[in-house]
Symmetry: C2
Subunit: 341 residues, 2 copies
């Protein structure tokens, strides 16, 4: 049996029993955006790691070395954001094939370095070795969060309001444009492709949610809305209802969907790599956190509600309700070497 | 220009200026076995990461999945040992090609799990994704050490005695036997191949050295004696003299060298992956630490002395002194896809 037969999440279910916890300070192991370990009565250590493989996650000619360096770091910072933490230190492992030049690698580090300056994180080393075929990038990021302010996937309560912190689907539409060139105006293309190639981790939003005392759970949208909402439902043992009319769709995405005469919903529901946050907000605190977000200048968009009926219910604009099955991105279940659509 | 033109260490020199330290608690970034970060007045966090690539570092048919899982974890635990630390948590990233079965992966995790039980470390997750060609394994391990007991490469003093904690060269001789089958008795072959495939991290030795107040610097022998001693010399701004007659050579290695009619010195000086410790011991504490090691049942072998004359001087059994140039394993400078000899 191969991984593609059971997918990444089926595999995690199988190996979890082999991952015994000997450290009594571990608050969360496998199954969240970060592992969470108590390091003092006040502070938790967060650790996240992400592996990117050439031809599976990216092609070298899609973007500059600097842009890829920044993205490789950004997707890890997004996991720290999902836990409401402050990122601290970065460890970079590279396996480098012969077709990658020193100059390219220096620019890759320059991209990481610029983003690390912006978010005040330190690159503390790693490992550099050889690859015979594809460029391999593994980044591990540590961060900290206050005990009592660490956001997990498992804390949502029935009645909590589901919010997201930005547009859905732009990144996967951008990937579609990278994979299949289309006759699209430059401003539309650059907006969507930028969402795919240069995501900004929502660290400020995560910190704000963590400090608000209004947020019961959070996750970053990396696999796609349906899949990541499914993770929160599973970990919190809840169902959820989301409303088509409330899903935030950008103007460029609407334009592209219209131009291609397709429904943007596939991108919005199942597209991955948005790297915005999805959170569960206590209903009596919703007004307060909405004002806080507005004052701080970030988007907080209500898209639905957690409930105790199993599954994700999707209320169409027409009023009809359909069950939706989480089917975001799983590299092993895809037939294609890359591409989510 | 390619990485093979400047090697891994030349590359580190180039990227180090791009790795700015924003975290005031960082005590050591790039350039040691672990990064060291203060997390309380008493305690330091240690972080190490290691990337293993199929066909560069291992072949699947060399060993069982369990043995490879254990080794992949052991080499990271060895870095924690070199800093005198106690390992805590493990994060595993895998990129899995189609030729690797679920059953193999479960056994790989079983191998890690068994070693993690032995050393009481916790496997807390990671990332699993797809590879189009080779199996990729990245492991990150965190650990802790007491402030004031953390061993670095940079602390050696002129006059310190150079010790190692086990035999040198067995692992690279074992690799030679894996790469080129030889007519060798089973007991010889299994001893050497076992050193290559199933190294034991010297965690007890590292803790003992750290607690002894006798040790000024340490490193694990992963690249080879000449190369790793060179790292300590460079970081401590010292030279060193080592004595051929004192280098610990196992009986199986002597037998194999005799059988092949070659000098075992190439393996002993430049072979990598021994995963024993090399340490700088204060001369006035040497008697004490030797007794301590004997009482605890581990080997502490004096092989030379640090001095202020640049370079590594090698005193042959004949009495002649030669300079030796660090030339341990650097994947980028090797002509072969794998193999150190």
């Amino acid at each position: 049996m191969k991984l593609k037969d059971i997918g990444e999440f089926g595999f995690i279910d199988r190996i979890e029993p082999l991952c015994k916890i000997h450290n009594p300070d571990v608050l969360r192991g496998i199954g969240d955006d970060c592992a969470v370990i108590g390091i003092s009565p006040e502070l938790n250590l967060l650790v996240t790691t992400d592996l990117l493989v050439e031809r599976v996650h990216f092609l070298l000619d899609w973007q500059s070395a600097q842009a890829l360096g920044a993205k490789a770091l950004a997707v890890n910072l997004s996991d720290i954001a999902a836990c409401g933490g402050t990122p601290k230190d970065v460890f970079v492992s590279l396996a480098v094939p012969d077709h990658v030049e020193i100059n390219w690698l220096e620019n890759f580090y320059k991209g990481m370095s610029d983003l690390s300056d912006r978010f005040k994180v330190s690159i503390l080393g790693g490992d550099t070795t050889r690859s015979l075929t594809d460029l391999i990038i593994n980044i591990t990021v540590t961060g900290v969060s206050k005990n009592g302010e660490t956001l997990l996937r498992s804390g949502a309560q029935s009645g909590d309001i589901i919010v997201v912190s930005g547009y859905l689907g732009d990144s996967s539409a951008g990937l579609e444009l990278l994979l299949n060139s289309r006759d699209v105006p430059e401003s539309i293309a650059s907006s969507l492709i930028n969402a795919q190639l240069s995501p900004t981790p929502h660290l400020r939003q995560g910190r704000s949610l963590a400090q608000s005392n209004a947020c019961n759970a959070a996750i970053d949208i990396s696999d796609g809305l349906s899949s990541d909402l499914g993770h929160v439902c599973k970990q919190s043992r809840l169902g959820a209802t989301i409303f088509e009319a409330r899903l935030p769709v950008s103007e460029p995405l609407k334009w592209l969907a219209g131009h291609l005469a397709i429904d943007p919903l596939e991108w919005v529901l199942n597209g991955g790599e948005d790297y915005i946050l999805l959170a569960a907000i206590k209903p009596d605190k919703f007004g307060e956190i909405r004002l806080r977000a507005a004052a701080e200048g970030w988007d907080l968009i209500e898209i639905g509600v957690f409930d105790s009926t199993p599954g994700i219910k999707f209320v169409k604009a027409s009023g009809e309700t359909l069950p939706i099955i989480p089917c975001g991105w799983d590299h092993f279940k895809s037939e294609m070497p890359f591409g989510q659509i």
